[in-house]
């Protein structure tokens, strides 16, 4: 009996990322739990913050960009925890590790699929925020910064969550570890988004530094993730 030839890692790298993404999307399609939990949680958060701001709509509008990011971060921890812990609980993650797939393909597959979930959440949040705060959140550069920020945040998040779910305190540890690490991203990202909230579009030079900080963060986090992920998922 001849064994089928195992294709080299290079050639199967991108297809396996795609396979992992499709698997996660299909699970989500059947259960719909990750995105729905994130959406519910974000709506509650937004309404809760509005209690804190009182009935002062002017103040709420001023703070809305920061509020959007804070909501995304908090809801993101839920999505990360759910998507990765579910695999740990059902021991399907071990199956993923046994499969002849490069560890970095698993990492990127997870980053892409959870980013997609978070983007779906953001699509809903943007509509909610336009309705609640009457600010131009629909502008293409705003959406682009949201997407870039989400990617970097999830890239850091997958790495941290893969560690935190293997510890004793699990769910409690994730926000403590991840939120401080995500703040250097949110600070420039919120600055860039709020620059686009005025009726007039800002000059490129005004937002250039903030957007490049977001880009630097994305690059650094993905690089660190690719180099260290296999140390995190080792048995």
């Amino acid at each position: 009996m001849t064994t089928p030839p195992i294709s080299s890692e290079q050639s199967s790298f991108w297809p396996s990322i795609w396979t992992i993404m499709r698997k996660d999307l299909r699970i989500e399609q059947h259960t719909g739990q990750t995105v729905s939990v994130m959406v519910m949680f974000s709506l509650v958060t937004v309404i809760m913050f509005n209690f804190a701001l009182g009935t002062n709509l002017g103040a709420a509008r001023e703070l809305s960009t920061g509020l959007l990011w804070a909501t995304i971060l908090l809801a993101g921890t839920l999505g990360l925890n759910r998507s990765l812990a579910i695999e740990q609980e059902n021991q399907t993650f071990d199956a993923l590790l046994i499969a002849p797939v490069h560890r970095n393909a698993i990492y990127l597959g997870k980053v892409f699929s959870i980013s997609l979930f978070t983007l779906a959440l953001e699509a809903i949040l943007v509509v909610v925020f336009i309705v609640f705060f009457d600010k131009p959140f629909w502008r293409p550069p705003v959406l682009l910064v949201l997407a870039m920020g989400t990617f970097g945040y999830i890239a850091a998040g997958v790495l941290i969550t893969s560690m935190s779910i293997q510890t004793r305190s699990r769910d409690v540890l994730l926000p403590v570890l991840l939120l401080p690490l995500s703040l250097p991203l949110v600070l420039p990202a919120a600055m860039a988004v709020s620059a686009y909230m005025f009726p007039q579009w800002p000059e490129w030079s005004e937002v250039q530094s903030a957007i490049s900080l977001v880009l630097i963060y994305d690059l650094l986090m993905v690089t660190v993730g690719l180099f260290t992920y296999h140390y995190v998922v080792e048995a």
Partner: protein
């Protein structure tokens, strides 16, 4: 088994650190001239820069030990990383507190949410969480591996702190490699003092940075020795427990 003794290098470094720190303190108070606009308050600056410098140096040491641990797992690198993060946190806290004390007379407020100050606070939080992670893992091998990965990730906050001050507008002056920018900032009226006014100040600053670096080195060696003693005690304890159980 031989207990981790206080070796000669540690002793020499301990004494050198105390002596140079005393010299630096003397220079700060008696040698450095009084700054023209801020007066004596500016003397905090030498202390502030020294501790901020050691803070970032310590986190760099932690990063390197983290990478070394992942390449070749050994208790030695884990201990070095723990010591470096612990000491780095202390010095970063000193930098924040001394900056705050300086900020009150200079900016008329203890705290400002300027990008740099925010970033430093974030770095502080990220490194404080390092100990939460360690505390949540029982398995020694896994604890070493995870904390090595975490120490590499959290260095991103330090990199971004350095990058952000150079590309975002900030009220905080740039000291390392920022003479051009601080001169520019001063001409725009953004900063309270442009670089260092005289040679004496430069010398004092350098001596205090050297003093703080020596204190860091001495502290590292002592902290690593302390960890080794703790480890050895643990081994002895379990050995005694095993023996007692055998007798019963």
């Amino acid at each position: 088994m031989e207990l981790a003794k206080l070796n000669r290098n540690t002793r020499i470094l301990n004494i050198a650190a105390i002596v140079v720190l005393a010299i630096a303190l003397g220079m700060i108070f008696f040698y450095a001239p009084v700054e023209q606009t801020m007066g004596n308050v500016q003397r905090i600056f030498y202390f502030h820069v020294g501790s901020a410098w050691v803070g970032s140096l310590a986190f760099l040491v932690a990063l390197v030990s983290g990478i070394m641990f992942l390449r070749k797992p050994s208790r030695k690198w884990d201990t070095t990383a723990v010591a470096a993060v612990e000491i780095g946190l202390v010095f970063l806290s000193m930098a924040i507190v001394s900056g705050s004390v300086w900020g009150k007379p200079a900016w008329n407020t203890w705290w400002l949410w300027s990008p740099r100050l925010t970033m430093v606070t974030i770095a502080w939080l990220a490194y404080a969480a390092y100990f939460m992670l360690r505390g949540a893992i029982d398995d020694e091998e896994r604890r070493g591996r995870f904390s090595a990965v975490y120490v590499i990730i959290s260095f991103v906050t330090i990199i971004l702190t350095f990058v952000s001050i150079r590309i975002l507008r900030d009220i905080h002056p740039v000291v390392f490699g920022g003479a051009m920018e601080s001169a520019q900032g001063a001409s725009e009226g953004l900063q309270e003092f442009s670089g260092l006014d005289s040679m004496k100040m430069v010398i004092t600053l350098n001596v205090s940075v050297i003093a703080f670096t020596l204190v860091f080195g001495a502290w590292m060696l002592n902290r690593i020795r302390l960890q080794r003693l703790t480890d050895e005690t643990q081994i002895l304890k379990s050995r005694v427990a095993a023996q007692l159980q055998g007798e019963v």
